[in-house]
Amino acid sequence: MTGGEMEDVVAGVTTGRVLLVAVIALPALGAGVLALRPARFARNAASGAVAFSGLTMLASLGLVMGRQSGADRDWQSVDLSWVPAIGLRFHIGVDGISLPLVLLTTVLTFLCALYTMHSMPAPGRPGTMLSLVLLLEVGMVGTFLARDLLLFFVFFEIVLVPMYFLIAVWGGTASRHAATKFVLYTLLGSVLLLVGILVIYAGAGTLDMGELAQGGAGAGMAKSTQILAFALVFLGLAVKSPLWPLHTWLPDAHTEAPTVGSVLLAGVLLKMGTYGIVRIGISILPEGARRLAPTMAVLAVAGILVGALCCYVQTDLKRLIAYSSVGHMGFVLLGLSTLTATGVQAALIGNIAHGVITGLLFFLVGGIKDRFGTSEMSDLGGGIGTRLPLLSGLLTFTAIASLGLPGLAAFWGEAFAIAAAYRPDAGLARMPYVVLAGLAAIGAALAAAYFLRMLRIVVARPPDANPRATGVRLAVADVTPLEAASWAPLVVLALAIGLFPALVLTWTGPAVDLLIRAYAG
């Protein structure tokens, strides 16, 4: 960096930019501190992680500063040259599409750190585990803030490493296999993504996402280039989302992952895929999107229906919720595939709602697994509803929220994805989409069937006649204060976003309008 550039940087320092960098730097610093000084921090690792993730959360809340109402572009950005040899720039920024996802990430990470104070999975070593969680946060937040395709890819990849170890080391009995499958699968996706990014670079000569998205004309790329790039990028991101039939890593990973791993995996990691489809797919490659959107729509609806059917016959709670994620993310992908403002808005609020509600579901199921040593529904024993009224009440509430009850968060994304599919972008054939809208609505109703089945088995089973004989643990406590502290914010969010969807939509609205205006030319 030359002296002149240095001066520019110093002159450009503002509170907003400091916060923007802090949202990535704080968890990185925390990860380093926890990793390098395991001995001294061994006892206090959890409080250290709570402090770092808490500060990160506060910094991310500060990102709302400086936004003009109706702002449709980055209102805060930092652009520095990083590795000039390969043209990599450290270009990050925050707009209405990024902000809700960043907040979701920092809140969930903070709650995970808090939860770890209550429950540390075997084999212990909280310093190392929380260091990985904070590293994970760096990758997740960075993905949502990156404004350079290569930087996006770097952050996207950072996530893999800590998640692999979280599952493999702190997971269940078959966790090695699940972790390997997760890494293999998503790395395969990553390679496709990287090749897609290179195709974009070859076609447009820049990696700056803002420049690429300008005007929505695909930055002058030929139609065939766009279609090829979209196919590669989309496949890479669809693995993460996950899109049916690329989803099979997900049930295994979820079933084996420790609670905080499941929460962050379902709550945030899946959204990196759908976020990328908005940012790279629709914004930068409009012709490619138009060409491949119908395929995406069909697979999304297949995921909704297959997810619902599979859930109906699952016996393991974690696996059931994992499959329900396939269905819920299907609605997000359906919304995106309509290429309309309505659909993209539905997808973005669907992302947040799924993060909040499914994150909470995995917390609750983790709490059940902690108490009973199993997440196999039939082994939990009867009478949980009477013995653990608060935990049962929370599980009931969250299941109801997850099945898309109007008035709670998940409804908006599902209903308006269907509405958008009923009238997709004018460049798409309408009739197939209308059929898909109907099928998706059926899928939404099927969610009720499997969630109520789950509640019936877990919460409402009458007490066993002879619990000791069946080996059921009776002496378990209801929700502890630390659990309540790490779950309550999500309950409030599920209700608040349900009653006032504008909490999310006012942020995303202008940015989505800009995106779609540019897309429609």
Partner: protein, 613 residues
């Protein structure tokens, strides 16, 4: 007026939030919150009714945007017109009495606090449906009622049949709600707005096919919520819930919601006759089905449940012949007498600990208040003049008769079908109501003869409900009254001579036959109905055979397919890659490197393939 409307919406919700936050020991506070909030709501609704009626039922709307999805806006707001306020009063009054009654009925139930909060939520949800100015907001209330019914029907955890019944209620209505949500979305996307006023104003301008399809889709939801054939199967099973809940579901909330929504959106249904014709046929089938099934039940509450199915079908019939005012009139009187009947049945259950009529009898002297009020309720149900049910039922039959001969909304042939089914049902209603009356209150008292006397809170509620049960028919007598309030063009709702004479004759026949048999064989069941009626034509079994079991099998197949084929392919590829990499990585040490090698190896190979393709 706007402020009162908003308050009527917000107040029950505050009661809900407070109620769910209370600890389960706080019975008194919970009762106070629940009853207090509804008492104020009832007063507000009455004040609102006077204000709106004084203004000739003209609609007043107040709304604020809560969400914007592209071009589509969702607004939270109230639409106050005659229809909304009249139904709101009925909802509040019945819910208030149910809450008061429940304080005594659930006096030894340890889950009362949560129950009271759930009843408040149920009421709030119905008020949202009634007052909503926006279709999405209406859907919010509509579905919330579904979940409340699930929670409340499953209230008794110790009853093994409670939870399946609760799940059935929610899932069956949710199946209908697929259609309802799609109908709402089709209308909203078509009209570019979910505002009810705007959609109704543009009803004529929308493409006719779109409106017809939207109305048909809405009907699916209506059939689910209002327990109309073929989605009626949840209602009789729902009787396993606490009895006051049955009163709430049957009189003021859930089943009334379907009828209300069609009346609310009636101008849309007039655009194309298709949906009304379908509704008319459904109404005719459901009327007879419900009444025949009611004739053969042994469980007191199930008789009343089937009677609701049948009576709601009368309202559907009224809508189908193009006279929503008559349907709403019957909705109001039915709310009064059916709430009375359920709460009275609750007194009988509470006193005897028994739900089966074959094990009851002779309660007339032991429970005089219950006997007298229930007699009035049954008489209103049969339609004996001058009780309320007589006038509203005659308004419906008269409307069908007029439609057969004259003009109006709906088709003449549908009106004829509805009229014939309606008249036949009159006779059946007389028979099953009389059977219930005789088996419960007459004949010998079985052992043990000890009774638990219902508290004055319970019997008091019966007496209060007896007033509208007897008198409410008056509001239909003059054109300027109910017909004008509902803002549907001064509909006459008085009895018509021809149908009145015929229906009176038929109902006295129904009553007479049952009484004669009872006299001949005292104490025995006067209607020796075949099992096919008691099992309601085996529709439950058919539903299980055609839908539930195939669905489960499909789910298992798909799960296995997902594991064997979709995941099998992945695992297979993974194994090949691992085998390759393990050869390549012999020089490496440690597991992680092995995995990383496998990962990169596989990835590079696939990347090369991807680029080449």
């Amino acid at each position: 007026m706007r402020q009162i409307g908003w308050l009527l919406l917000v107040l029950p919700l505050l009661a809900v939030l407070t109620g769910f936050a209370l600890p389960s020991a706080a019975r008194r506070v919970a009762a106070l919150v629940a009853v207090g909030a509804l008492a104020v709501s009832t007063a507000l609704s009455v004040a609102l009714a006077f204000a709106v009626v004084g203004d000739h039922g003209k609609a007043v709307v107040s709304a604020a945007t809560i969400a914007r999805f592209g071009e589509l806006q969702v607004r939270a707001g109230v639409r106050l017109d005659g229809l909304a306020v009249v139904v709101a009063v009925a909802v509040c009054v019945v819910a208030l009495l149910v809450q008061i009654y429940s304080v005594a009925y659930l006096n030894d139930d340890e889950r009362y606090v949560r129950y009271a909060a759930e009843v408040s939520l149920f009421t709030a949800a119905m008020l949202i449906v009634v007052l909503a100015s926006d279709l999405i907001m209406l859907v919010v209330g509509w579905e919330t009622m579904g979940i409340c019914s699930y929670l409340l029907i499953g209230h008794y955890r110790h009853l093994p049949e409670a939870r399946p019944a609760a799940v059935k209620a929610f899932v069956v209505t949710r199946v209908g709600d697929i259609g309802f949500l799609l109908g709402v979305l089709v209308l909203g996307v078509g009209a570019g707005s979910f505002d009810i006023g705007r959609i109704l104003a543009e009803a004529g301008a929308l493409p006719r096919g779109t409106v017809a399809i939207a109305c048909l889709l809405l009907l699916a939801g209506v059939a689910g919520k209002s327990a109309q054939f073929p989605l009626h199967t949840w209602l009789p099973d729902a009787m396993v819930g606490p009895t006051p809940i049955s009163a709430l579901i049957h009189a003021a909330t859930m089943v009334a919601a379907g009828i209300f929504v069609v009346a609310r959106l009636f101008p849309l249904f007039l655009v194309d006759p298709l949906a009304l014709n379908v509704l008319g046929v459904i109404a005719a089938i459901t009327m007879l089905l419900g009444a025949l099934a009611a004739l053969a039940q042994d469980d007191l509450k199930r008789v009343l449940a089937w009677s609701t199915v049948s009576q709601i079908a009368y309202m559907s019939g009224g809508l189908a012949v193009g006279v929503p005012a008559a349907a709403v009139f019957h909705l109001l009187t039915h709310a009064a007498f059916k709430a009375l009947l359920f709460l009275a049945a609750g007194c009988v259950l509470y006193a005897t600990g028994q739900a089966l009529m074959s094990k009851m009898g002779g309660l007339r002297t032991a429970m005089p208040v219950t006997f007298v009020t229930m007699t009035l309720g049954l008489a209103a149900l049969i339609g004996i003049p001058p009780l309320s049910g007589f006038f509203s039922k005659e308004a419906l039959l008269g409307a069908a008769y007029e439609r057969v001969h004259g003009s109006g909304g709906g088709s003449a042939w549908v009106a004829l079908v509805v009229l014939l089914a309606g008249l036949a049902t009159v006779a059946l209603t007389g028979a099953y109501a009389t059977r219930l009356w005789l088996l419960t209150f007459f004949g010998p008292r079985p052992e043990p003869r000890t009774l638990r006397q219902p508290s004055p809170l319970m019997t008091g509620s019966l007496v209060v409900l007896a007033v509208p049960t007897v008198l409410l028919g008056i509001v239909g007598l003059r054109r300027e009254w109910l017909g004008t309030w509902l803002d549907v063009g001064h509909t006459a709702l008085g009895p018509t001579l021809a149908t009145t004479a015929l229906s009176l004759l038929l109902s006295f026949n129904g009553i007479g036959v049952v009484v004669l048999v009872w006299r001949r064989f005292p104490g025995a069941d006067p209607v020796p109905a075949p099992a096919v009626l008691a099992r309601a034509f085996y529709l439950d079994e058919i539903q299980s055979f055609l839908v539930v079991r195939p669905y489960r099998r499909l789910a298992q197949e798909i799960r296995d397919y997902d594991a064997r084929v979709v995941d099998g392919a992945v695992e297979g590829n993974g194994r090949v890659a691992m085998a390759l990499s393990s050869r390549l990585s012999r020089l490496q040490t440690g597991n992680v490197q092995t995995y990383a090698g496998a990962v990169l190896g596989a990835a590079v190979v696939l990347a090369v393939i991807a680029v080449l393709l």
